[in-house]
Symmetry: C2
Subunit: 324 residues, 2 copies
Amino acid sequence: MILKVQVNRHMQKAINSLLRFLRRSEIPHILRIQTTVIKAINDFMFSRNFIQLLPILTSKFTDPLGPDPNSSIQYIPKIKYNGFELCLTQSMILHKQLALASGLKKIFIMSPNIRLENSSRRRSGRHLFEFTQMDFEVAYASMFDIMNLVEDLLIHILWKVNHLNREDLESLNRDLRMPRKPFDIYTSHELIETYGEDWEDKASQDHREPFWVICHKREFYDKEDENNPGHYKNYDLIYPEGFGEALSGGEREYQYERLVKRMKDDGLNLNLYKEYLLIAKEGLLVPSAGGGLGIERLIRFITGAKHIGDIRLFRRVPGEDVIF
Amino acid sequence: MILKVQVNRHMQKAINSLLRFLRRSEIPHILRIQTTVIKAINDFMFSRNFIQLLPILTSKFTDPLGPDPNSSIQYIPKIKYNGFELCLTQSMILHKQLALASGLKKIFIMSPNIRLENSSRRRSGRHLFEFTQMDFEVAYASMFDIMNLVEDLLIHILWKVNHLNREDLESLNRDLRMPRKPFDIYTSHELIETYGEDWEDKASQDHREPFWVICHKREFYDKEDENNPGHYKNYDLIYPEGFGEALSGGEREYQYERLVKRMKDDGLNLNLYKEYLLIAKEGLLVPSAGGGLGIERLIRFITGAKHIGDIRLFRRVPGEDVIF
């Protein structure tokens, strides 16, 4: 009756890996902190009257995350179902805009995303090929409204962890400094001048508190400044001490002509986004701003973990074996 | 500069569909209730000292959801990444057991699942091909511990909605009755005798309060009663008024020999689960019980929606077109 499962080297590696994992004394501390963090986020968003939507995992289109001449994503995975080809969600940005088109004003989603990153991203310490972001969007908000909200949110989370998880932080040897509002703001141009194109790590290492970096040329949906073409009303929040990007967001393009121009500039196949574009053409998209806060990156920053994979119970690191 | 997007019949249908959706006056009420429900769940689980894990979307193995000679699932979708073939999550049950093997005692996950149901399931009114369940597991718990916990949870949620969303319930014409503990318990055998094999709808329609149905012959991981072979220590919570299944759970098999026997009885390919089985063989799995509470089904029950698709902003109903 008992099956002889053959224990080959791969199996032994798997067992050793889980055993190693089971013996990691940090894990209960990290997961208790994670529980506080998620609770603090939910409480904060609820107190600010955000409506919570459920995530979607599949759709006819997803965030293309481009254009990037050195794209780190291998491809967008798709599944077939009842004659449809459905993309797995890279981010819910386009669906956030569609949700606001239904008349909602403030929304958030605990949204798991899949991004099939190149194996080289393993070394960054902050990439997973699946992760959860707290994705939110506010109709008619400006970038400064959102930056103000995010500063309050981050301070609330850190305050909660400092109060509820003092012993866990001590066990992890982590002294969690409370940042002060308002956070410093740089433009990406300033940082490129100071640190070069790969400013993120270096600028992060040079700081003791989180800071904003605004004005990035990137995806079509981030709004270009009408009064200053070639400049963009978007922002990244960067953690200090080398932990790098925390959140990415922006005001959004929402007018049909602007979206079409930006998508064409990016060389996107407009046909893939036709339903989205038709809603824009009907004039149903509204101005908005929002962002996505990476949950695992936040836990890594708070716990001081060396690699983002170390805070996951089931590691999903590009270029690493998936064991369970 | 302006692209002429061609409006064919499919496009017009898409636009009309969103417009119809935008004009649905119930949506803000439903989503406000949803926000309360998710908040109430998080608060309750936090107050009971559950550790919150993040969901996984991909894995080397997932819940096979079988065996079922008339399986309603078309197939388990897989993606390829760096030489791995990864299944999309149908449920996190096996990973919940692995998580408890790391020494955690009480865990929960807001877990989005993909299940490619046959189109005929469209008619059930309660199936989606992607949905979120609140998946939880407690080490060393008995089925009655879990049933007691779930009764408290459901009463807490309904109480919160009744207090915070009275106007929304009135707008939806929904009178939400507070159930009383303990809920009635039937065996599946009793209900089959009374209603026949498709007892779920009929028994649900015959009741005014939620009730339990215990002892189902189903997946290999639900524990067989040692003192009464052919009987099982598992349970479904059924909503009244025809809303059907709310939650499914059980005590678990965790001993290597038992798991192997049950999997072989089900005709499963043990090789697909080898890492899981090796952990069991090392004696690292612990006795546990838990369940999964379908969030969309709960929102449907609370709001009294005719079809589960009606409570989603982005419909994911088997056999329906996916528009966005």
